[in-house]
């Protein structure tokens, strides 16, 4: 049993995922490795642009995309060969918040359904009253008022409200890890801060780790923790957010950092256009 606690709760080991065959095959992930320890609660930012493979890595860890080679492990066990009861526990411990707050709800049902399903499946409450209390507590944890959202249909709520309901649902389950795949990119700016703060609170107050997938380096900087930069299916740089963002080792990371527009007009891009070209060449970025 002591070996169990030293296992990371979630891990990718040299995971490679290839779509299609032959000359038209695309390598979505190439030997990607990442680990989320059981404790202390950790926040890992997975940063990359389109085509970097970050979403594929997330889906592999969520059991939605079996890797072509390499392994995706939960508590040391292969996610894709779990028994039914093991899988139930896996699903209890590893939860997700997806990108699209519109598509995540089945338009047929009221939003309550997402709570009802998990309460029932994971036996989170033993009586109706207890269930109601749990739902209300979860909504309040994400600053939603229960009467504002319960009993409504998804189209009656805003994107930010819907995403918070997803977080409330995760809160109910008290998972070990939340995989947030571009959870804020379809939300308004003001709401993004609210969602990120909830994830930070989850980490500090509930000990929940987050794997935060994003293309927004500023968000990664805000969340802190660790960072993994991906490009065209490969991990090009890993480390703590502070280290990597102040002292990037990889040219591509440097290129990304140099390109972020700052909301401060006085803080213009530091590299000149010609230096940027040099960086682009070094990073092997073709004429954009």
């Amino acid at each position: 049993m002591s070996t169990e606690t030293s296992q990371p709760i979630l891990a990718l080991r040299e995971a490679t995922t290839v779509f299609g065959h032959g000359p038209r095959a695309t390598v979505a992930n190439s030997r990607v490795s990442v680990e989320i320890p059981e404790s202390p609660p950790t926040l890992i930012n997975v940063v990359g642009e389109s085509g970097s493979g970050k979403t594929t890595a997330a889906r592999t860890l969520l059991g939605l995309q079996k890797p072509t080679s390499g392994r995706a492990l939960w508590r040391g066990r292969d996610i894709y060969t779990l028994s039914d009861s093991e899988r139930t526990q896996f699903r209890h411990e590893v939860q997700a918040v997806f990108q699209d707050p519109y598509g995540i709800f089945n338009p047929f049902y009221k939003v309550n359904r997402v709570f009802d399903i998990v309460v029932k499946r994971f036996k989170l409450a033993s009586s109706k009253a207890e269930k109601q209390r749990l739902i209300e507590e979860s909504l309040e944890a994400v600053s939603l008022r229960p009467p504002d959202v319960l009993g409504r249909y998804p189209h009656q709520l805003s994107g930010g409200e819907r995403q918070r309901i997803m977080l409330a649902r995760a809160y109910m389950l008290k998972p070990k890890v939340i995989v947030a795949d571009e959870a804020i990119s379809m939300l308004d700016v003001a709401v993004r801060a609210v969602i990120m703060n909830i994830l930070l609170d989850f980490k500090e107050q509930l000990g929940i780790s987050t794997l935060f997938i994003t293309h927004d380096l500023s968000a990664a900087h805000y969340l802190g923790g660790n960072i993994m930069v991906m490009r065209q299916g490969r991990v090009v740089e890993k480390g703590t957010v502070d280290d990597v963002l102040t002292n990037p080792q990889n040219t591509y990371t440097k290129l990304l950092l140099e390109s972020i527009p700052s909301p401060d007009p006085d803080s213009r891009w530091k590299t000149s256009a010609s230096d940027l070209e040099v960086l682009e060449e070094q990073a092997g970025v073709s004429q954009v």
Binding site: R192, A193, P261, P263, P265, V288
Partner: protein, 372 residues
């Protein structure tokens, strides 16, 4: 006189209404765009928008989803005509010939001539609307030919246009699917400048592009303004892009323009509580890692704007008057002023619609002050 003009003359500053129209490339005046639904309800998607665009400047229109910014630019160009659309107000555009045309009253033929020739439009996601079966060079030519350019002349210009947007001549022979997102966007911009318009309207031109590509596009747009003496209206929800690109910015909330001015003071020392909340919610690598505040509540819907100031139910500085009297967008008196950003030095050219600043409050609504 409109209320705004009254406010401007009372405040003593040179209101926009005084400046001779010839100086402005485009003046949006009190523009309303409402949609009437089948059950009789009215969605007031844009209300009373007033904005001027000068020559050779980049003006940003900033706002989140539901602010009305895309509807505003679409309506200016008469791009979409929904049934049940009701519009009031004017959009005065100074043509190359020296005439002033109200775009809202212009005929279809006039609009067709103006589009591309004098006003170019780059809609959101337009890089995906290139014809997939035509080489991009030919698509550039097609645009010009449709506006009366001789085909041979048009073909000659393609290389020059591609160079302007930082693409190699050989790109002309490629098909859209052979280009990256950034390259496609540049082709769209090349088409947009092909007739040398005086105004380009771009809706979210950098969204969905990789961040390094975004920087290139932003720098290119600034360069175009300098080289071609063209004005650009850029619509975006990304304040950082505004901060790095535009000269002036107009902030929209709930269908109304609530703050305008040079980008630097607006972004660094905003006066409107919404702008303040917005800027405070943006993470940035330059900022220290302290907790960001969001803006509580959510954007209201156009069928049901709140009474009075549309932001009042989310505003941390709301006062009783805010719940009943809509504030006016009015020029702010220059000088040292007390604002939500603390005590700041205000220069002329800023406008704000907020009861915290007395210019925005109509005379008859001022309590205990008496009309000036």
């Amino acid at each position: 006189m409109t209320l705004q003009e009254i406010g401007a003359s009372l405040a003593g500053s040179q209101g926009e209404a005084d400046t001779p129209a010839k100086q402005h490339l485009m003046q949006i005046r009190d523009l309303d765009i409402h949609f009437r639904s089948d059950d009789g309800g009215l969605a007031r998607v844009v209300d009373g928008a007033t904005l001027t665009v000068g020559r050779n400047e980049i003006v940003g229109i900033a706002g989140e989803s539901g602010s009305g910014k895309t509807t505003l630019v679409e309506a200016i160009l008469q791009i979409v005509r929904f049934p049940n659309r009701e519009t009031h107000g004017q959009v005065l555009f100074s043509t190359r010939a020296g005439k002033q045309v109200d775009l809202m009253q212009a005929s279809d033929r006039e609009m067709q001539r103006l589009r591309l020739d004098e006003i170019s439009y780059i809609p959101q996601g337009s890089m995906n609307s290139l014809n997939p079966v035509v080489r991009v060079g030919d698509q550039i030519v097609d645009g010009m030919v449709a506006h009366g350019t001789n085909a041979r002349q048009a073909k000659r210009r393609v290389t020059e246009l591609l160079d302007r947007v930082g693409l190699e001549p050989k790109v002309a022979r490629l098909y859209p699917h052979e280009l990256s997102g950034g390259m496609k966007q540049r082709v769209i911009i090349a088409i947009a400048i092909s007739m040398e318009p005086s105004l380009i309207i771009a809706d979210e031109p950098t969204t969905a592009l990789d961040v390094n590509v975004q920087r290139r596009i932003i720098e290119m747009l600034a360069r175009l303004r300098d080289e071609m003496k063209v004005s650009i209206v850029m619509v975006s929800h990304d304040m950082a892009v505004h901060a790095q690109l535009v000269d002036r910015v107009a902030i929209m909330y709930a269908g109304q323009i609530i703050e305008t001015g040079a980008v630097r003071p607006i972004v660094r020392t905003p006066m409107h509580p919404y702008t303040f909340g917005l800027m405070a919610a943006i993470p940035s690598i330059d900022k220290p890692r302290t907790r960001l505040d969001g803006i509580r509540g959510s954007t209201p819907s156009p069928r049901n704007w709140p009474a009075g100031c549309r932001f009042h139910n989310r505003c941390p500085n709301a006062m009783p008057i805010c719940t009943s009297v809509p504030p006016l967008l009015a020029p702010v008196t220059p000088g040292v002023r007390q604002t939500v950003s603390g005590e700041i030095e205000v220069h002329s050219g800023r406008e704000v619609a907020c009861h915290l600043y007395e210019e925005s409050t109509p005379d008859d609504a001022r309590v205990g002050e008496g009309a000036r």
